[in-house]
Subunit: 80 residues, 2 copies
Amino acid sequence: MTKARITVTLKQGVLDPQGKAIEGGLASLGFTGVDSVRQGKVFDVELQTTDPNQAKAELNDMCAKLLANTVIEDYSVEII
Amino acid sequence: MTKARITVTLKQGVLDPQGKAIEGGLASLGFTGVDSVRQGKVFDVELQTTDPNQAKAELNDMCAKLLANTVIEDYSVEII
């Protein structure tokens, strides 16, 4: 079994209204030293394969096909 | 300026319907070797402070107060 973590974040320059809302929320809670917040997604995936190279290839394929919108998002795959 | 990444994931045992839906989606795309998927959130935060200890304390406080629901979620803070 292979465990992996996929992190999907918005590309630089893409507006992140959810992050802005969190900035506002933090400010209203008294956290004044926050310059910016950007929100992304994380997927913890367990694969049956034990070959890390095969796992990585499969995970990248999953990102391109389903987990990330590559027009506006970047993704990174990490075997853990 | 301090950059940090906060990762919020569901605690073990907490049902993750979104993760289950992604598993179904991956299966229907032909990814048959997936044992489980669990989804979480990631926050990339920029703080004004340059003191990593102060930053870490503030970030933990943010998680406890706003970013994570500690009843069902775990969080980790990483200065990057």
